[in-house]
């Protein structure tokens, strides 16, 4: 009995082989989104493993409401949200109000340093939409299935995320 041998049911919508193929071919995308959610690599790795394990266990219950791959993305995203460290992804408005001091004599702030707290301060759905778009390279339909929103909402969500980040970036850069 191999480790990938499956007990298949007659009406199975996703085979274990398909899940394994998805896992192997897209592992680093799943990992990147999971790390963006959880904030650290070991937790993200665990989330990816758990997400796929859940998909593997429950694949007979998949009812085809979405594409199989986006269903798996939901499993992994949910696992990442369950695993993520509390209180590090959210920033108060007060924390957001602190501006970098260009006279402090430190290395110039990179885009990442500036943007990280801004990204963290985004509403959760906007943040996740960004991760799925930029890190997972999912199309709008897939993002809508993962987020559980209407297709038209995805574009608006991403637009809002960009607009918020631009606004916060301008505020951060204003002397």
């Amino acid at each position: 009995m191999t480790t990938s041998e499956a007990i298949l049911t007659a009406d199975e919508a996703i085979s274990a082989e398909e899940l394994e193929e998805l896992y192997r071919s897209r592992y680093h995308r799943f990992l990147r989104v999971a790390e963006a959610i959880t904030g650290d690599l070991p937790t993200a790795q665990d989330a990816v493993q758990e997400g796929f394990a859940r998909a593997l266990r429950a694949r007979a219950q998949f009812r085809g409401e979405s594409r199989p791959e986006t269903w798996v993305w939901r499993c992994v995203v949910n696992a990442a949200h369950n695993n993520r460290r509390p209180a590090e992804a959210e920033l108060s408005d007060e924390a957001m109000a602190e501006k970098p001091d260009p006279t402090a004599g430190v290395e110039p702030l990179t885009a990442a340093v500036i943007m990280k707290p801004l990204i963290a301060a985004l509403p959760a759905q906007q943040r996740l939409a960004l991760f799925l778009r930029y890190y997972a390279d999912l199309d709008y339909r897939a993002i809508s299935e993962v987020l559980g929103v209407e297709l038209g909402t995805v574009g608006a969500t991403l637009h809002k995320a960009h607009a918020t980040l631009k606004k916060k970036l301008e505020e951060a850069q204003t002397p």
Partner: protein, 262 residues
């Protein structure tokens, strides 16, 4: 750099790709095979022989002291069970042996589906788990009742170590052909089952992927009217590395027509 490019660059740096991180599908399979906690106890099937919980535990301990006969147990319960080690085909459910109320030793970790097979067109499933003190509890069940009543199922527990590198459970009842199953040293490539008439049945051993104890397992159908006399673990070089005698009082014996295949 405009704002959009700045956002894109920031996202690239926010969570860079971890291209050196290695995927581990075997670990996914192991995690998927892990069950949840067993369900609460259910009513017992009084149509089967049901040793009391204390009997099960004491016979298991007695077996350790004597390093001998695993008790032949027939436990049944009304709860459903999930399959492990391979892939669970349904949501987490309780194992029949935990739901029987017979005081089954608690599992320290997952219950594993060690092997499935078919004898006389009857699908069967062999399960095993580790206890807190590193004993192995192993059982065999018709697959149909593994998922529901446990009817026709049996289980035993034993300590498999250098001093006692093999154990067995021999089983004969109407729902499953006469058989012998058990754990054996991980050095054993096969198990020879010697019958009362001197016939030897050679049964290959098999591993249970991810099982937390270093051991292999075996399962063999036995003829109806020739009980097993002893079991011998054999390594890859043909050398006997483990042997247990099966006392006459625990050798199952079936008459024609009393079980499948007889």
């Amino acid at each position: 750099m405009n704002d959009t490019e700045l956002i894109r660059e920031a996202l690239e740096q926010h969570t860079p790709p971890r291209l050196t991180a290695a995927p581990d599908w075997d670990d996914v399979v192991r995690r998927a095979a892990q069950t949840t906690q067993p369900a609460t106890s259910a009513t017992l099937d009084h149509a089967s022989e049901l040793p009391a919980g204390a009997k099960l535990a004491s016979s298991w301990r007695a077996r350790r002291r004597r390093a001998r006969t695993p008790r032949r147990l027939i436990l049944a319960a009304a709860a459903a069970a999930a399959l492990a080690s391979a892939l669970a085909a349904s949501a987490a459910q309780s194992w029949w042996f935990f739901s029987s109320g017979a005081g089954t030793p608690t599992a320290a970790g997952s219950v594993y589906l060690v092997k499935t097979g078919t004898w006389v067109n009857i699908p069967w499933s062999m399960t095993a788990y580790r206890t807190a003190n590193n004993d192995v509890c192993f059982g065999i069940s018709p697959t149909a009742s593994l998922n529901s009543s446990g009817l026709g199922a049996s289980m035993a527990c034993a300590h498999v170590a250098a001093s006692t590198p093999i154990s067995y459970l021999t089983n004969a009842q109407p729902n499953l052909p006469t058989n012998i199953v058990g754990p054996v040293s991980d050095q054993a490539q096969s198990v020879d089952v010697t019958l009362a008439d001197g016939t030897i049945i050679h049964a290959p051993t098999f591993a249970a992927p991810g099982f937390p104890l270093a051991m292999r397992f075996y399962a063999a159908q036995l003829p109806c009217n020739e009980p097993a006399r002893h079991v011998t673990g054999v390594d890859a070089g043909g050398r006997a590395i483990a042997q247990l005698d099966i006392p006459p009082e625990v050798r199952p014996h079936q008459t024609a027509g009393s079980s499948p295949g007889c």
